[in-house]
C-alpha cells in the first residue's frame, strides 16, 4: 500500500550571503564568488538527505533543537518553499515537480495543511475569526454565501468555537480560542496530512490539554495523518505513534515514540531525554551537552554532525558519516548504536 507521504533523500540548501567567518566579505571570498559563480557560494545545509514515510492515519512526531532544520523541512513539505534535491511524494504524485509558487492554485493544495505555532501571528489581525476560517474554503473549495457560512459554523463547532466568537478579531480572543481558530482553518478543507508546528507552545498547560485532546479527536473523526513538530518531548510522547529526531539537518533517530523516549539509542536523543524536567526527579547533573552545535555551513560530509558535542567521539566518528541503520522498528545514525540496544531477555531455564 502506498504511504500517504514519502520523502526520499530530501535536501534543502540555502546560499549564505555575507555571513561572517565564511569569507564572503573577504578577498578570498570575493574571488571565489567571481570565479566560481553561485554554485561556489557557501551553503547552509538546512535539511540534508532526509528520508522518511508517513502512513495514512499515523501521527509522526518531529523533534530537535532550534536550528536542526525542522522548520525548513516543514515548509518544504507544505510546499511553501522548493526543494534543493530529492523527492516528496503525496500518494503517487511527485510534488517537487510543481514549483512552490504555483502550488497555491493546485488541486492538491487542500490535501496538505498546517497549524502554526502562534495563532496570534498566523491569523491576519484585520481578519475576523470567520474570515480566517472562510479563506481556504473560498479559495480552495469555491464556497460562498449560505454554503460557506454553514460550513464555517460546522467546522468551528467541531473545534469547540461557539458561533458568537466568529465575529471577533484575534486580539479579542484568548490564546486557546485563537488556537482553535487556527485548527478550524486548517481542517476546514479536510486535508489528508496536517502538519502541526508547535501548536500548543504558546498555551497554558490547562489549555494545552484541551487542545491536544481536540486534535486527537479530530484525527479520528476526519481520518487525517499528523506530522507533529514540537520541542516538548512529554507532549510528543503522549500524542505520537512514531517520532523522528533531527539534528543539524539530518534524521539521527526514529522509531515508536514510547520506545525512543524510554530507551534512546543516539547520544543526542539520550541527552535530550535527560534534559527534560520530570516530576519526582531532582535536577542533579546527568548527561549534559556542552558547547554549541557545529556550523551548518558547508559541513564536512565525512564527519558525524554530533562529533565534538557527543560524550563519545572516536576516530570512526570523524572519518565516516554514520548512516541511518535499521534495528527492527528503530533507526539510528550512530556507529555505536549497538551498545545501547536493549539486551535480549535471558532464556528462562527449565
Amino acid at each position: 500500500m502506498t504511504a500517504l507521504l514519502d520523502v526520499a533523500e530530501f535536501s534543502k540548501l540555502f546560499p549564505v550571503s555575507g555571513a561572517s567567518g565564511t569569507g564572503s566579505l573577504s578577498w578570498a571570498g570575493l574571488k571565489r564568488r567571481f570565479q566560481g559563480g553561485p554554485e561556489k557560494l557557501p551553503k547552509v545545509y538546512a535539511v540534508d538527505n532526509v528520508s522518511f514515510v508517513i502512513e495514512k492515519g499515523e501521527t509522526v512526531g518531529l523533534v530537535g533543537e532550534s536550528g536542526c532544520g525542522k522548520s525548513t523541512l516543514v515548509r518544504a513539505l507544505t510546499r511553501l518553499i522548493d526543494a534543493s534535491d530529492g523527492s516528496v511524494k503525496l500518494g503517487a504524485r511527485e510534488l517537487t515537480l510543481t514549483p512552490a509558487r504555483e502550488f497555491a492554485s493546485d488541486p492538491d493544495r487542500a490535501r496538505i495543511q498546517m497549524v502554526f505555532q502562534d495563532a496570534g501571528e498566523s491569523v491576519n489581525p484585520r481578519f475576523t475569526a470567520f474570515d480566517a476560517i472562510a479563506d481556504p474554503l473560498r479559495r480552495l473549495r469555491k464556497l460562498s454565501g449560505r454554503t460557506l457560512r454553514d460550513r464555517v459554523e460546522t467546522v468551528a463547532s467541531q473545534c469547540g468555537l461557539p458561533p458568537q466568537l466568529l465575529t471577533r478579531f484575534p486580539h479579542q480572543l484568548s490564546g486557546g480560542q485563537r488556537a482553535r481558530v487556527g485548527i478550524a482553518r486548517a481542517i476546514a478543507v479536510e486535508p489528508d496530512l496536517l502538519v502541526l508546528d508547535e501548536p500548543t507552545a504558546a498555551l497554558d498547560v490547562s489549555v494545552q490539554v484541551v487542545i491536544l485532546q481536540l486534535l486527537q479527536r479530530l484525527k479520528k473523526e476526519l481520518g487525517m495523518s499528523y506530522l507533529f513538530v514540537s520541542h516538548d518531548l512529554s507532549v510528543v510522547k503522549l500524542l505520537c505513534d512514531r517520532v523522528l529526531v533531527m539534528y543539524l539537518g539530518k534524521i539521527i533517530e526514529s522509531g515508536p515514540a514510547m520506545e525512543v523516549f524510554e530507551h534512546p539509542l543516539h547520544p543526542y536523543t539520550q541527552a535530550l531525554v535527560a534534559a527534560v524536567p520530570r516530576f519526582g526527579e531532582d535536577g542533579a547533573e546527568r548527561l549534559r551537552l556542552s558547547g554549541e552545535p557545529r556550523s551548518p555551513i558547508d559541513p564536512d560530509p565525512n564527519v558525524c554532525r554530533f562529533y565534538g558535542r557527543c560524550p563519545r567521539g572516536t576516530n570512526a566518528c570523524k572519518t565516516t558519516m554514520p548512516e541511518l541503520r535499521r534495528f527492527g522498528a528503530r533507526q539510528v545514525a550512530c556507529h555505536y548504536a549497538e551498545d545501547f540496544l536493549p539486551k535480549p531477555e535471558p532464556q528462562a531455564t527449565s
Binding site: 507544505t78 492554485s105 502554526f116 502562534d118 501571528e121 498566523s122 489581525p125 484568548s174 486557546g176
Partner: protein, 294 residues
C-alpha cells in the same frame, strides 16, 4: 468549553466602528478638538462659497485696505475685496489640493512600496532607484521645477506635491510589507490557495494602510504649505483665485505699512488647517487599527 471567556454578543461592525470612534474622540480631548476643526474645514470647503457675505472676486477700490470692522470682519485687501470671504472660499481650493495630493501619493508611493517590499528583487531595485533620484533634489526646488516646467495649474501643483512625497511613502510601505512578507498569516494565506497578488491586496495592504494614514494626515498639512509656498514665489495658483498662499504673498507687501490683516488672516487659516491635520493623524490611526479596539 473551558476557555471561552464570557462577554456580551458583538454588534454589527458599523455600529462597533461608530462606538469605537466616539470612544477614541471622547478619550483624548485633543483628538476630539482636531476632529471638530476638521469638520469645520470640510463645511467651509463645501458650503463656503454659498454662505460668504461678499463675492470673493468682487473688487471695490473705494473700500481698499480697510481694517477689520463690522462690515468686513477680516478687513479688505488692496483691491477692496473682502478678506473674510476670500479666506473662507480659499478653503475649498486648499483642501482639494491637500486631499488630491495625498490620494495620489498614497496610490503611487503606497502601491509601489508595498510591491517592492513584498516581491523584492528587481521591483525593489527599480522603486528604490526612482526614490533615490527624487531624494537627490531639495524637495521644494524639485516641486518648483516640476511646476515651472509643466505650468501653473492646480493639477500640476498636486502632481508636484505627490512626486516630492513619493520616496517617503514608498519607504514606509516597503518596510511594512517586508516585515509581513514572512509573517505567519501570509504563509497561512498561501496554504489556503491565495496567489501572491491576492496576498498583497487582501492581507498586506490592509495592514499597511493604518500606518500610511498617519503619514497621509501629515502630508495634507505639507501639501497645503507646499502650494502656499509655490504661490508665494509666483509659481502657484494665479491671481485672482483666492488661495491662502497667494493671499499671504500679496498681503506680505503691506505688512510693513501696517495693514496686517491682509497676510495674517490667511496665514492663520493656514496654521489652523495644518495644525488640525497633524493632530488628526493619531486619532485616525486609532480609529482604523482594529488592534486598538477593546
Amino acid at each position: 468549553m473551558t476557555d471561552i471567556a464570557t462577554s456580551p454578543p458583538r454588534e454589527s461592525s458599523l455600529t462597533a466602528l461608530f462606538k469605537h470612534s466616539r470612544y477614541v474622540l471622547g478619550e483624548n480631548p485633543v483628538t476630539g478638538f482636531a476632529f471638530a476643526l476638521f469638520v469645520l474645514i470640510v463645511l467651509a470647503s463645501v458650503f463656503g462659497p454659498h454662505i460668504v457675505p461678499y463675492d470673493p472676486l468682487a473688487s471695490d477700490t473705494t473700500q481698499a485696505l480697510k481694517p477689520p470692522n463690522a462690515h468686513h470682519w477680516f478687513g479688505t485687501d488692496q483691491l477692496g475685496r473682502d478678506v473674510f470671504s476670500r479666506v473662507v472660499v480659499a478653503t475649498r481650493l486648499d483642501f482639494f489640493i491637500a486631499i488630491a495630493s495625498v490620494a495620489l501619493v498614497f496610490l503611487m508611493g503606497g502601491l509601489a512600496g508595498v510591491a517592492a517590499g513584498f516581491f523584492g528583487g528587481w521591483t525593489d531595485r527599480i522603486v528604490g532607484r526612482i526614490a533615490d533620484t527624487i531624494m537627490a533634489f531639495p524637495l521644494f526646488v524639485l516641486a518648483m521645477g516640476i511646476v515651472a516646467a509643466l505650468g501653473n495649474t492646480v493639477q500640476n501643483i498636486v502632481l508636484a506635491t505627490a512626486i516630492v512625497n513619493f520616496p517617503l511613502y514608498a519607504r514606509i510601505a516597503r518596510a511594512e510589507a517586508n516585515i509581513r512578507r514572512d509573517a505567519g498569516f501570509v504563509e497561512a494565506a498561501r496554504l489556503s490557495g491565495n496567489s501572491d497578488w491576492r496576498i498583497l491586496s487582501f492581507q498586506i495592504l490592509p495592514n499597511v494602510f493604518p500606518i500610511l494614514v498617519v503619514q497621509m494626515s501629515l502630508t495634507m498639512g505639507y501639501a497645503i504649505l507646499n502650494a502656499a509656498g509655490l504661490s508665494f514665489i509666483g509659481l502657484g495658483v494665479r491671481p485672482p483665485t483666492p488661495e491662502w498662499g497667494i493671499m499671504v504673498a500679496e498681503g506680505s507687501a503691506f505688512m510693513v505699512s501696517g495693514e496686517w490683516w491682509n497676510a495674517t488672516f490667511p496665514g492663520a487659516a493656514l496654521m489652523v488647517a495644518v495644525f488640525c491635520f497633524n493632530l488628526l493623524g493619531d486619532g485616525l490611526r486609532d480609529m482604523v487599527d482594529p488592534r486598538r479596539r477593546t
